[in-house]
Structures are given as C-alpha cells and as structure tokens.
C-alpha cells in the first residue's frame, strides 16, 4: 500500500568517498528536512555531484550511511531507491517518444495501461507541454526537453527529487524562467529536493537552504540570506556574490585596516589575527567627504565607469592602490565621475563583514 506522505527527510551521516588518495567526499554529514529544497553549491570538483550520485546510488561510498526517512539505503541499488532524478543533459531516451519516456517508469512499476495514459497526460499538463506526447525527443527545443525530463522524474510521485545542474544547458533568459518554474513545482508537489549547481545566483533564487561544499567538505550550510549577509570565511564570501577584500588585522575584538579601527556592528566572530574586510559593491555608497560620522570611510581615485544596463560599476583605486568596485543602480556615462577624480566611499557598520581566510 502506498504511503500518503509526499516527502521524506534525508539523512547523510559521515559519508566518505575516496579515489586513490583524493577524497571526493570527506566525512560529510547533512540532515535534510522533509519537503526542503536544499542546494549543494560549489565549484567544479568540489564533490557536489559525487554526493548527488551517492544519494542516487550510482556511486558507492567508502563509508557512511544514507537514510531516506527510516529506511537505510546505503547499499540499495539505484533502481530500487524510488527517487526522481533530473540529469544535466536530460538523458531523455531518443528511441522513445515523449509519452514513451514519461510512461517508462510507470510501466516498470506495473501500472496498468489505462492509468499510465492518464498520468502521462496529467504530467504533460503540469509542465505545459500538452499535446507533445507523440513527438520524438530530437524534435524538442532545449527548454522543452528540460521540462520533459522534469515531468519524467516526478511522474511516479517520488518523495525525493535529485537535480544535477538541470538548467546549465539553457540560455540565460530561459534559465531564469525555469528557475522560477522549478520552484513553483516544488511548492506545489512538496517533495524533498536536492539541487546541485555551481551558479550561486541560481542557488540564492531557488533554495530553502544552501550547503556550500568545497574539496569534499561542507563549508557553510545556511539559508540564502544568512549565507550572503554572514559568510563564514573568505571562500564563501568570494563564491557568493561579488566582493573585494582588504586585509585587516584583528586585535582585541576590533579589526584594524592599517592603523584605522573599522566600525563594526558586532565583534568579529573569529579570533584569527589575519582576516579580510569584505566589500560588496552594492553596499558601498558614494558620499561627500568627510560624510556621516558612523560610516566606514574610504578615500580613493576614480579609475573607470562601466555601464551595465540596470546598474553600473564604478572602479575606484584606494589610497594604497587596491582597486575596488561600487555598484550603483542605473547611472550614466555622461554623469559619471571622471577618471582620476578623487572620491569618498562609505560603508555602514551593519554592512561591514569581517571574514577569516578559507582554512578556518
């Protein structure tokens, strides 16, 4: 009898996978709540795809435990795990029609033909591809294939869905559109979803939580906003959003840029002596010198103005020669400050972030 739950929690405990002497996954653990949309975010080679493959059953870990709900699945072969998966290049069977692809998992489960037809029709409707049933895969556009792949992964109502960079093959506009569609689908169906991507913007858009992974270990697992506003270390700050870094020294609970103490909203979270001040382009503001008393002030010289449509970047080199960027909404080349002109920038203490380097 089929259970009525629509999602299962996932428990990853102390999973390790080594290839020769390199650890693709190094004792990783993660508890994923039932119905959560969590993204594994990291650069290439970070281990995110390896972890997804371990969850899917295609890679067997050297040690550790994977549970879907109460059931331990570490040694269960992939065809018995009953989870949905969307592959990076969709892997739609070219020798079957769209309807054939969608019907495939249902037929494997012995579902009678009449019901299969009904469910295929409903699935096509859900991804807005009504009437595409008899088309062949090579007749579909990239976006259409993506939606068929999605439909195939959920048609048998799995309680867990895995997605391996499913939107990376699409062009920018389509990708952004699909990000929202996937999110809606998740809200509608409610299954636990593990999403893998290297695109931090995508992760920020779609996830309930983001697990940043690098060199086979989790670096920070947080909600998108917390990850962005309060990165744990330089790697996270660099990977998520744009930033420039100024080296600072932390002594006695305060950060010093050279001789100057930096105004912070709260004391630095780490005690390492050598840390970095994170300058997010959109947090820096151009002010009239000397400006507000409670801002962190930076003086510099304008280097270049880059118009980017909805916003512009202003490149400024600071007193010690370090170039940083400020992002402003709108802006125009005619009214931009000239290269070489002096300029003063302000950063609110609440927006001032101090991070240690990656090793912390």
């Amino acid at each position: 009898m089929k259970s009525t739950t629509i999602s299962l929690p996932i428990s990853i405990r102390d999973v390790t996978k080594t290839y020769g002497r390199t650890a693709a996954l190094d004792h990783v653990s993660l508890e994923i709540a039932s119905g959560e949309f969590i993204t594994l975010l990291g650069p290439s080679g970070s281990g995110k795809t390896t972890l997804l493959m371990v969850l899917a059953g295609f890679i067997r870990p050297n040690s550790g435990e994977i549970r879907f709900g109460d059931r331990e699945v570490t040694l269960v072969p992939p065809h018995k795990r009953d989870i949905g998966m969307v592959f990076q290049n969709y892997a739609l069977f070219p020798h079957m029609s769209v309807a054939g692809n969608l019907a495939y998992p249902l037929k494997l489960r012995g579902i009678p033909r009449a019901e299969v037809e009904g469910r295929v029709a409903r699935a096509l409707d859900m991804v807005q591809l009504v009437g595409f049933g008899e088309r062949q895969v090579d007749q579909l556009s990239g976006g259409q294939r993506q939606r068929v792949a999605l439909a195939r992964a959920i048609i048998f109502e799995p309680r867990i869905l895995l997605m391996d960079e499913p939107l990376s093959a699409l062009d920018k506009k389509l990708r952004e559109q699909m990000q929202i569609e996937v999110r809606h689908l998740h809200q509608r169906l409610g299954m636990t979803t593990v999403y893998v991507t290297h695109d931090q913007r995508e992760a920020l858009t779609m996830s309930d939580r983001i697990a940043v992974i690098n060199h086979g270990r989790f670096r920070q697992i947080d909600k998108p906003q917390d990850l962005y506003e309060r990165p744990n270390n330089r790697f996270i700050a660099e990977f998520i959003g744009e930033s420039h870094f100024l080296p600072v020294e932390v002594r006695g609970g305060t950060a010093y840029l050279g001789d100057r103490a930096i105004r912070l909203a709260e004391p630095p979270r780490h005690q390492a002596a050598a840390q970095f001040l994170v300058l997010r382009p959109e947090k820096l503001k151009v002010i009239d010198a000397p400006g507000g008393a409670d801002l962190n002030v930076f003086c510099g010289q304008v280097k270049e103005f880059v118009y980017q449509g909805e916003s512009s970047l202003l490149y400024v080199s600071l007193a010690d020669g370090q170039p940083i960027a400020i992002r402003q909404a709108g802006g125009s080349a005619q009214r931009a400050p000239l290269p070489g002109a002096p300029i003063t920038l302000g950063l609110a203490p609440a927006d001032t972030i101090i991070v240690p380097s990656d090793e912390a």
Partner: protein
C-alpha cells in the same frame, strides 16, 4: 556640384569598382577550387582507370556473346547449379553473420565498458587479426582443424571422441574460418556506437526503476542498433563476395559465388558468364549497402567504414 552629390558619385564609383573586383574574385576562387580538386585527380584517375573502367567493361561483356547483345549469360544463372551456389553463399553469409553478432556483441560491450587501459589492450587484440595476413590465419585453421590437426589430436587424447571429426575442407571449417576473419569487422563498428552512448541513459533507466537487465535490453540495446546494423551489413557483404577462405577451407565442397566467378575465368575462360555472375554480386552488394544507408543515413555509413 554640391558635396553631397559628389560624395554620392564617389560612392557609386566605389560600388562599380567592387563590381569589377567581384568578377576577378570569383575567377580566383574558381582557380583555387580547381587546384584543390586536382589534388584528388591522381587518386581518382588511378581508381577510375584501373578498377572502375574494367568493371564497366565487364558489365558490358555480360550482355555480349559471339552473336552480339544477349541475355543468355544471365539466363544461364537460373540453372540449378548456380542457384545452389547462390543458396550456399547466402547460407554461409547468414550463418557467419549471426555467429558474429552472438560473439561480437558481448566483446564490443565489454570493451566499451572497460577502463581505458584495458579497453586499449582489448582493442589491440581485436585489431591484431586484421593486421595478420589472411593466409596465415587460414593456414592456422587448416592446422587446427585437419584430421590429424591439433583439435582432433587433443580431443582424442582426452578421450572425448573415437575418430577424428571432419572439421575442415567442408562447410564447418569454412564457417569457423570466416567467423574468425569477420569478427573484428563486427566488433569495431559496434564498439564505436556503444562508446557513443551517453552513460546517463543507463543511469536514468536505473533511476526510473529498471533493473540492470531491463535497462540493458530496453535502453542500451536499442541505442546500439546503428552500430549493430553497420556491423551486420559490413560482415554480410564481405561474406557474400569472399573468396580466399572458402577456397582454402572448403575443400571444394563449398562453392561460393566468388569461386564460381574465378572458375569461369580461369577454368572455362567464359568471360560472359563470369561477368554476369560478377554483376549480380555487385548489384546485390550495392543494394544491401544502399538499404543500410537508407536506414541509418549515408553519412554514418561512410564514417562507419
């Protein structure tokens, strides 16, 4: 004259100049095309004159005899002895092709799945027979299969048989030899097409609930069909026209189409009959290849060879 008008005039002169260059440019282009094309000319001429022209001549000869134009040579082909030859040629070709599929598919599958170093070694082992002389291989089979050859000696030493098995100078020996010759030609195109199968397909099949066996038959095999089709056609077509192995291992008991052609030339000096036989063989060969081209697309066919 106003500046606007004079600049328009210069523009027009400019365009006319462009027009003049256009003729020179296309002449230059054509010369270049001719030069490049002529690089292929020596090869084309050689093949055309030495191989293709004689065959056209043969084609013509097949319609002539002492009295003039005739279909007599073709009519003679309906004689029972020729039909028997046709039948045994097809029989052997079909049998060898089927055995090559049964042996070649697992081999290609393992090579396609193996790690690069093991695959390289296996491919080398498959290529080795192709690079070994055909006659050496026929000789090896003669040695192995003859009445006092290795296989019979071993089998009787092991007490498994009472008298020597007749393994050569007959259909059996010819089949074994032909399978040995043809197997690499089945394995190579199959391997190429299997390698091109994205591993994600099998993973998707498994993820959707297919057991390894189900995934193999329902996803892998269908996707490997182009390579299989190419292999089947290459092997079948080679078998149809094959001469050496049946001549050596058949002991005169296996009469193949190609041997019939040879006999008509060397023994009877009957060029009309030989040509007719040759033309039929050629038409059959080209027909089957064309069918394959229709099924999997001609570009792949040329690539597959």
């Amino acid at each position: 004259m106003t500046t606007a008008a004079s600049s328009a005039r210069t523009e027009q002169q400019g365009f006319r100049q462009l027009g003049r260059n256009a003729a020179e440019l296309s002449a230059q282009d054509r010369t270049e095309q001719w030069m490049l094309g002529s690089l292929a000319l020596p090869g084309l001429l050689l093949i055309g004159i030495v191989a293709l022209a004689p065959i056209i001549w043969l084609f013509w000869l097949s319609f002539r005899n002492a009295e003039g134009m005739t279909l007599a040579h073709y009519a003679r082909l309906l004689h029972p002895s020729y039909l028997i030859t046709l039948a045994s040629t097809f029989e052997l070709s079909i049998l060898v092709t089927i055995i090559c599929i049964l042996l070649g598919y697992p081999l290609a599958y393992i090579i396609a799945q193996a790690r690069p170093r093991i695959a390289a070694v296996l491919l080398l082992l498959v290529l080795f027979p192709i690079w070994t002389s055909l006659l050496v291989r026929c000789y090896a089979w003669l040695v192995l299969l003859q009445r006092r050859g290795l296989i019979n000696t071993w089998l009787s030493d092991l007490g498994l048989i009472d008298g020597p098995l007749r393994l050569v100078h007959n259909f059996t020996g010819t089949s074994i030899g032909m399978v040995h010759i043809m197997l690499p030609f089945m394995v190579l195109p199959l391997y190429a097409s299997m390698r091109a199968i994205n591993p994600d397909y099998m993973r998707a099949a498994a993820n959707l609930g297919a057991s390894p066996v189900q995934a193999f038959w329902q996803v892998f095999v269908p996707l490997s069909l182009p390579g299989l089709a190419a292999g089947i056609v290459i092997v079948f077509v080679l078998c149809l026209g094959f001469y050496v192995t049946p001549a050596l291992l058949g002991g005169g008991r296996v009469m193949m189409w190609s041997m019939q052609i040879e006999r008509n030339v060397s023994y009877y000096g009957d060029w009309g009959a030989a040509s007719a036989l040759g033309v039929v063989l050629l038409v059959l060969t080209l027909g089957i290849l064309w069918l394959l081209g229709r099924v999997i697309g001609f570009n792949k066919l040329i690539g597959a060879r």
